[in-house]
Amino acid sequence: MQFPGTAKPAVGIVFDTAMGGIDDVLALAMLYGFEGKSQARIAAIAVSSGDLSAAQFCDALRLFNAGASTGPGPANLHGMPMGLADGGTAAESSIFNKLGKPVRATGIDSVKDTADPATLMRNALMAQHDQNAAMVLSGAAIDLARLLDMYGAKDWIVRKVRLLCVTGTGKATDSASEKVLAGWPTPMVTVGPEIGEALPFPGGSMEKDFAWSTGHPVVDAYRRYQPMPYDAPSCAMAAMLYTVRPDEAYFKLSDGGKRRHLIFDAGQKERVIRAYIEMASAKPVPRKPRRPPDEKKKEEDKEEKKDEKKDEKKDAAP
């Protein structure tokens, strides 16, 4: 919960992903890493491919992070749900179409345990401070096109979102991407595949940097995706890194107005890959409860007494 009158919290990220490549998995892992370091907050995660198993993976990773920080148990089951595009309209499939349901626990059994992505993203954006949200799109633009169709969408998108970062060439491939590329009302940065190729994520990191956990869902997916060892392209990771840390000069930007393109900077290669590894493999940070239990109970008791007094007054009133 955020309170008015206090400083703005870290940027809220909406990640709309097809989970179409292993870099999407790693980008999601990075997002949890950023959240652990309070450099970003996860506002919403939506899967545009329509694969239930992809949403289940995202949820398993959420529970893995929540469980690791709060201890075992059905952690945070009532949080924001995962978004999942309607399978009938999704334009592409995810890698989990092949990999199947994750081994780890998930709270998603059927599509009814997920939310319509456009509704979810709208609801999540409504809970963000003005100009304190950013969106990363990796995959088909179908959900964002539907978001743009919502009542009054452009107004509140402009109010809430400071940046949309899109993986791909920046050229429209279907009517949805055409609509988003032409009609998106905030600044937009595109991240081409050349960035992902130039900055490969080292597969060796799975054995070394993720070794703190024996059953990390990301490691499991990485190993099952392709025969090991292999390095992965990092287009979605670059988009995530730039979106959360736009002022760190990891990349150069093309000239232009509202729509710009991310450019590989060879001098920053080592630094970028270090950031990838650090964030994707970050251990979940145990979070303290907002208020210690004793203090919370005292406050609740106080509230109850106040209510009782109010009732007594009401009964006594003529």
């Binding site: 919960m1 309170f3 008015p4 749900p81 997920t114 939310a115 509230e303 009782e308 009732d311 009964d315």
Partner: protein, 446 residues
């Protein structure tokens, strides 16, 4: 009996400052049109209960045709073929959305308006509630565009929840974004509003009535006799049952007022309201029935008790306040008490539904031609959750809804989508309301 000359739908029995509307009679259908335009109107009502529900006792663990109902809904089991139970409807605008504490104020104010209310105790602002949008359109056809009823506390000023005005917690219907419509709590006031020419009886008529302790029906007896001579046996029986139900309401009010007079002054209710919760509920339900039966209105909102209420339920041996109990911190005894309060509310509602389904109207029952929503603005009252709101509809909306089912939608499905669907059934066609994203699927017969 079907006559060539139809009785006007808006016929009243009149006499001494009194006007009693009539129920839907066969004689109101012209002979030649009997087969094609005999459809009674569709009505809608909202019955709102506060402080959330113990959802384990509300949600069945299945979808599709209703079988055994969970404990809180048990009183509705005999009528399960008449209800539709919804899963996963959400009011995002009830959530904090940067406004901090105050979920009770927000959830009630956003419940029918679909907007996030301004956090304030002075310059209140929400939105036009959807019942009022319907009332504005269909209300011209009835004596009252809408009725707003309640059973507790109609204060409109002051802070009722963490900086939210009492106007937010104590009203469901909003005529404009700054004008809530306070509920009528007093059965006597409601009765007079329904049958006293649209306003309180004139002092002379009231004095005369009190002097003779006569029924309001006595004043219209001449008109009644005249009307009866032209009616067939079915209509006569209908009319007799209807007028008897009005007389029964009068008796209940008189009884309540007599009982109140005997209560110790510090316990006395200021409104002539029955001291007993169930009795009060029944009285209000009976008048809602008559109001629908006589087509006095097609839109009713009923705020059973106000959001955040700390009312105790001594009637069922629960002396603790409702709201403090809902913050149960997972203590089993407190959860049990809340579940009993939830069930007690549903029991009163079920009795109303039972009555509505006994009244014949057109080819079905009065209930068939209604959409009566029973629900709350919070699901889990302990954690103040605004998703998977406990929501059911009793009635078929004019033989339109396929009932007897539980329909679970995807998470985050806006509650306003249900409103959009209901508006369409009421003949009000709008493309968007609140945070709606479309009409609800799978609800209709086809």
């Amino acid at each position: 009996m079907i006559t060539k000359k139809a009785l006007a739908r808006r016929t009243f029995l009149r006499g001494m400052g009194t006007a009693v509307a009539l129920p839907f009679l066969d004689a109101m259908v012209p002979a030649m049109a009997a087969t094609r335009s005999a459809k009674p109107p569709v009505r809608m009502a909202f019955v709102y209960v506060p402080n959330g529900i113990i959802m384990d006792g509300w949600n069945p663990d299945y979808e599709g045709p209703l079988r055994e109902l969970p404990r809180i809904l048990k009183p509705l089991e005999p009528y399960r073929e008449d209800i539709t139970l919804f899963g996963n409807l959400t009011h995002n605008t009830g959530r904090a959305l940067l406004d901090g504490a105050g979920d009770h104020g927000r959830c009630c104010a956003s419940y029918l308006t679909g907007v996030q209310p301004r956090k304030t105790v002075t310059d209140i602002k929400a939105g036009v509630s959807f019942d009022q949008i319907v009332a504005n359109q269909v209300g011209k056809q009835t004596r009252f565009p809408s009725l707003e009823l309640g059973m507790e506390d109609a204060r409109q000023a002051g802070d009722c929840d963490s900086g939210y005005s009492c106007a937010y917690t104590n009203n469901l219907a909003w005529k404009s974004e700054t004008q809530p419509l306070p509920p009528v709590l007093d059965p006597r006031a409601l009765f007079e509003r329904l049958f006293g020419n649209g306003m309180a009886l004139t002092p002379e008529a009231r004095a005369r009535e009190n002097f003779y302790r006569r029924s309001i029906l006595d004043f219209v007896s001449d008109d009644t006799r005249k009307l009866e001579t032209g009616l067939g046996p079915t209509d006569r029986r209908k009319l007799d049952e209807y007028l008897s139900s009005i007389r029964e309401i009068e008796r209940q009010i008189e009884k309540a007022e007599r009982n109140n007079a005997q209560i110790d002054p510090h316990m006395e209710k200021p409104y002539g309201v029955p001291a007993d919760f169930a009795e009060h509920f029944k009285l209000m339900a009976d008048m809602m029935t008559v109001a629908f039966q006589a087509d006095l209105t097609r839109v009713i909102t009923f705020l059973v008790t106000h959001e955040g209420t700390s009312r105790p339920y001594r009637e069922i041996d629960i002396p603790d306040g409702h709201h403090p109990l809902t913050h149960h911190r997972n203590q089993a005894d407190m959860i049990e008490k809340v579940a009993r309060i939830n069930s007690y509310h549903v029991r009163q509602f079920a009795a109303w539904i039972a009555k509505m389904r006994t009244i014949r109207e057109g080819d079905g029952t009065l209930l068939d031609n209604c959409m009566i929503v029973y629900g709350a603005g919070l699901s889990d009252g302990n954690r103040h959750l605004h998703e998977d709101l406990p929501t059911l509809i009793a009635g078929r909306g004019g033989s339109h809804f396929k009932t007897g089912r539980r329909i679970v939608y995807r998470r985050e499905t806006p509650m306003c989508n249900l409103y959009l669907t209901m508006m369409e059934r009421m003949g009000v066609h709008v493309e968007h309301f609140g945070d709606s994203t479309g009409r609800l699927e799978a609800l209709d017969l086809t």
